[in-house]
Amino acid sequence: MERLVRIVDLRVYYDLPQGAVKAVDGVDLDVIKGEILGIAGESGSGKSTLALAVTGLLRPPARVASGKVLFNGVDLLKLSNDELRKIRGSKIGMIFQDPNTYLNPLYTVGFQVGEVFESHRGGPIGKYLNDVIALFKSVRIADPERRVNAYPHHMSGGMKQRVLISMAVAEKPELIVADEPTSALDVTVQAEIIELLNEIREGMKTSLIFITHDLALLMEIADRVAIMYAGKLVEVGSTNEVVREPLHPYTKALLSSLRYERKRRLTSIKGSIPSLINPPNGCRFHPRCPYALPKCSQLEPNLIDVGGRVVSCFLVGG
């Protein structure tokens, strides 16, 4: 198993007047070549910040406090702006949450996709018309010859997301980071987009980081899942194992809130995600954890390896 990305002890803070928000606080995570890695967590767990850090898209007040993001062995956080620019869009593609606001309303979609080729191969955008049409065909945009001249407001949300996906895959990247790519879409369109992403992974042997709050979605698509809580990873493992036998109480709670059985009430996790300016001592989940031990509020559990997957909980092997 060859590793494409190694995230080492990554810490990303948002400097606000009230203090530093520790959105990502010491995350170690690998992405294996060709896999779909799902990252799940509640909103505010730091998963989107992680995605932005991997693609070098953090903007102030966000700041990388420490850590490395190694991509093919090169630390992305140490690259100059121009070196990073050459990797973005060619080696790493990014797909965002809301297709309606991530396209510029003033340019045709063909032009905006053509800009990817222009940026990495040079020359006028008009030269790449046929490439864009071919790309649109590959992401199943109907009538691509006509669609290249359409403006974003002529298109549905699902169609716009296909345009954004075509942009991300244009240069056949080694890694695609998709941040909640389907949460702004209808359920039926969602299924189509998931299918498309799966196809792309198969066809291009690319790795995909899929970020979502929807664990059910990850069960369908991800090879491995990483569960995030309050800026830290709590459990990482193959999707099958994690779903069949979750080890961390937070993963258990997430899964049980998902498993709807007849005659039983939907269960929810009590409480809400803690402040990331002053996170709780010890294990960050302990205030909401039904199994919390006295030491959980004092000591921070490390990620430990339990037969091929990692968990940070004193109840497991500790």
Partner: protein
């Protein structure tokens, strides 16, 4: 040819605006105290002479008849004769027009040349010294009274340095001081609106897409930031040019610039009804035309507006 059809529609729709403005100023001018017939005849003239002049000018008729007469001659393309100069109003206006148009466009051009770069730079580098200096200067420019700025300019450049003429319009150099005075007034607002709309465009989500696809910084700025921030800037430019074409009365007066503004002031003092009407007619026309031009520019910038204006109705 949807653009042509759109323009025809707009011209057609501005007829009521035009007539409304016409009626409004026709009444307003006559409500002013003072009597042009008396002013022509002189203070010692006999009442019957004044009455005869009134008759000649048609001022003895009821107001509604006067208005109908005016509109009828207007439809024939005749703006009437100036009461004071006894020459066709159109000649008077056309003689002054080039000066006002030149002053308006030179002043706006100076303002744009200074304000756009300053606004853009201060949006991109919010903490630089230049940004600080810019915000102080734009506040000063917007709040300093025009007549004071004009006098200061004359004092510095004409009296002390003796490098620029202080009044008249005999050479191209004469336009420099009045245009600079006016542009100072325009710059402040233009800088602020540029800064805020560039900041708004920078923070849009589609800029993240542009960065994520590896687009060069220059292309991001030129295509995705500047074009997206143009709408408010163009709006303000339109308003500014519109009000400048109405005559910069104070500036034209201080610099003795022979434009529409100083002509309007003179004609109001003399109660020259037909001339006032002719000038205001032109100002109304200028605003209507500029509004249409600005809307067409919107449509060229934004395809959503294009669809709205040209495809529907």
């Amino acid at each position: 040819m949807s653009l042509v059809r759109y323009l025809c529609k707009r011209v057609y729709h501005s007829i009521p605006t035009f007539i409304g403005a016409l009626l409004f100023m026709f009444i307003l001018v006559r409500v002013l105290p003072g009597d042009p017939a008396r002013l022509i005849a002189g203070p010692e003239a006999l009442e019957q002479d004044v009455e005869r002049i009134r008759e000649q000018l048609g001022l003895n008729k009821p107001l509604h008849e006067q208005f109908v007469d005016y509109v009828v001659t207007l439809i024939r393309g005749d703006l009437g004769k100036s009461i004071k100069f006894r020459t066709p109003v159109i000649n008077e206006v056309l003689a002054r027009l080039p000066y006002t148009v030149a002053l308006a466009f030179v002043a706006e051009a100076i303002a744009i040349a200074v304000a756009l770069p300053l606004g853009i730079i201060s949006a991109l580098r919010p903490n630089s010294k230049l940004t600080y200096v810019t915000s102080v200067l734009s506040l000063l420019g917007a709040s300093a009274p025009t007549f004071w700025v004009a006098l200061m300019f004359i004092y510095i450049f004409s009296v002390n340095l003796r490098i620029l003429p202080s009044s008249g319009a005999d050479s191209p150099r004469h336009i420099i001081l009045p245009a600079a005075t006016l542009s100072l007034l325009l710059m402040g607002n233009l800088t602020r609106i540029t800064r805020s709309s560039v900041i708004e465009a920078l923070n849009s989500n589609h800029i993240l897409t542009a960065i994520a696809k590896g687009l060069r910084e220059r292309a991001i700025l030129m295509r995705h930031v500047l074009k997206n921030s143009m709408i408010p800037i163009v709006t303000l430019m339109g308003l500014q040019i519109g009000s400048l074409l109405g005559g910069a009365i104070i500036t034209e007066t201080v610099y003795a610039w022979p434009g529409i503004g100083s002509l309007l002031i003179d004609s109001i003092f003399f109660r020259d009804y037909t001339l006032i009407q002719g000038i205001i007619l032109f100002i109304v026309l200028a605003f209507i035309v500029i509004n249409i031009v600005v809307d067409v520019i919107y449509a060229f910038i934004d395809p959503r507006i294009r669809d709205l204006l040209w495809r529907t109705g």
